[in-house]
Symmetry: C2
Subunit: 345 residues, 2 copies
DNA sequence: TTTATTTTTGTAATCGATTACATTATTGAT
DNA sequence: ATCAATAATGTAATCGATTACAAAAATAAA
């Protein structure tokens, strides 16, 4: 009962075995109802016996779709994204899509590489988690483009649906928390300057200060890039400031930076939160288990991933359907051990 | 200069535009040397002008390959894997392969889902990072199977090439370190019992103890599952032990568990390393920045990923070629702040 | 110049599943 | 029992690129 030539069994082989036409086999697989029970059983049995599996390339070619969605993220190694990915995967696999994952920063993606990935013959749609892809990469595409949504990050001004939290509000919550604890000298460790998230978080930070009649001198605004390492550098910067004029609290635009910061301060004998209060952003898994546990803004990463995936699949299935309703993702300030009331000492 | 019907431009359209046959266009793309410079330029120009991109499904169908490799990992959310992934991606993209990533535990993969993924018409090969896939899933396949290698984990007894460190040696290094610090009462927080890594690490742990004439009562062998949460539970277990008969040092089979452990102990007033020394395993990025910084066994995750990808691609290109030479991955004990010499107090 | 060799190009079959359309079988209504 | 309507199945064209084979063009050798 082998397929001839030592090759894989084809739909032809199954058809012959079950004494039906290839069309019937195809229908038995794709539209079971359109086939009588008797033949369906025969087909299924032939499939089982032959070990037939569908040839995806052939199906994709004929159907003009791939059942694959691309997830483009800035940094695979950053644990922040893995939860979002998990949300995407949950939905995608439930809906019968595979996901293709690519890292847009490493190796840095150029137009050619992008064009090769973001191609309707490879993918049905894409979820883009990187707001720094040049808009021109998308515009350059001819013909039918894959469906697309943004998640977490987005390109400002783009019309494409984007699923993300309100970063300004989040930053305000974090800063308000520090103010409420009695801090008046509050600094900020920012993300990379060309990043939308960084910008919104700086904005929220400043809005909160303004609301409370506080200001922030330039050297309390520390430039980082979301990595642990840049948190370490931020600590160096803080240590270099005049002891009397240092902030007594810092809002970090990411948990990772907060960890680097706290660790480096600790090496230098500075205690968090006694000497300095720190709030992070994201509530990565580890935040609850660091020492001290990190106060931070929780964002529902997994739900963001799920929402983005749902919206994308919706768009893939019917490009002209009205988009799914926007949803708001709730933020939550989680107060843990890294923040404490201001004390004069 | 549009393709007709509002559809994507096809190779036909390019051919017409460049006044050559489709065969020539195809050759200009796949074997530039087999085409005269003049026609090549004409073709390239036509491609540029039409915005043509190749239809991958058609190419895959005809060529009988997909240019895609699957990476099957147990848990996307675990930061351990992201570095390995990065290594895989570096090589894969350099060699012109895309990677398809799937999570084997969530949602738990069943035979049908596995068969759907691990299918020669979808992928050219797979890198499997999960040693708990039932062997039967692989055996059940008919016909030509995708190429495959294991990385990090593997199925004991399988003939398939596997790229991983010597876990027994690593566990011995970790345990030796504790012994060298003067500890005599040493416990172990193990990984999930059905996991090859756990088993080898337990073995190495016990071998080291034996070498030094030490033993380990059963209630110093704590069952975990590699997660932070199970580290927290291990701490509870340790705390529940009779104060006089507790281990003074613990070897954790993963850094994640060590973090959970240290954090929970800290909550209960136990200081690491003063009251208890702890070594982890893996040297995840955060290990250098936790408080205290974690002593651990460094494994070159990225290089493992690269080696696995290289070997797989080698196999894909020529299934019968002799396999690439095995390589040893060096381990390193990184001694940081979580371990200290035994003191009687 | 003529012939042999090599390079370049074209024609048309092919990969394997899907589906429009045509045909046959079945069911139900009268 | 007859006809209409519906269900089930089959035939063959099709998706778009690749490539075996054949033909034509260019180059080298005589």
């Amino acid at each position: 009962m082998k397929a001839k030539k030592g090759n894989l069994p084809r739909i032809q082989d199954v058809a012959k075995m079950a004494n039906v036409s290839t069309a019937t086999v195809s229908r038995a697989l794709s539209f079971p109802d359109r086939v009588s029970e008797k033949t369906r059983d025969a087909v299924l049995q032939a499939i089982e016996k032959s070990g037939y599996t569908i040839n995806q390339s052939a199906r994709n070619l004929r159907r003009g779709g791939t059942g694959t969605i691309l997830v483009l993220l800035p940094n695979l190694a950053n644990s922040f994204f893995s939860r979002v990915l998990k949300g995407i995967e949950t939905i995608a696999s439930k809906e019968g899509f595979s996901i293709l994952i690519a890292d847009s920063q490493f190796p840095p993606i150029d137009e050619a590489a992008f064009g090769n990935l973001f191609n309707i013959s490879r993918i049905d749609g894409a979820i883009v988690l990187d707001g720094n892809i040049p808009q021109s990469f998308f515009d350059r595409q001819n013909g039918r483009k894959p469906a697309m949504v943004f998640a977490c990050e987005w390109i400002p001004g783009s019309k494409t649906a984007a699923f993300h939290i309100d970063n300004i509000a989040g930053a305000m919550m974090a800063t308000d928390h520090l103010v409420a604890l009695g801090h008046r000298k509050i600094g900020h460790v920012a993300g990379p300057p060309n990043n939308v998230l960084s910008r919104d978080r700086v904005t929220g930070f400043l809005q909160s200060l303004q609301k409370h009649g506080l200001g922030c001198p330039d050297d309390w605004k520390i430039q980082g890039d979301f990595t642990i390492e840049s948190g370490v550098q931020a600590a160096q910067h803080w240590l270099s400031l005049n002891q009397e004029e240092r902030p007594t609290a810092l809002f970090c635009a990411s948990d990772e930076m907060a960890f680097g910061l706290i660790s480096e301060l600790n090496q230098n004998g500075i205690k968090v939160p006694q000497d300095l209060s720190i709030v992070g952003f994201d509530d990565v898994e580890f935040a609850a288990h660091s020492i001290p546990a990190l106060s931070t803004i929780h964002q529902p990463r997994r739900r963001i991933g799920e929402a983005a995936a749902r919206a994308l699949i919706h768009k893939i299935r019917d490009a002209d359907a009205p988009p799914l309703p926007e949803m708001a993702f709730e933020l939550e300030l989680i107060s843990r051990g890294s923040t404490a009331p201001f004390s004069n000492r």
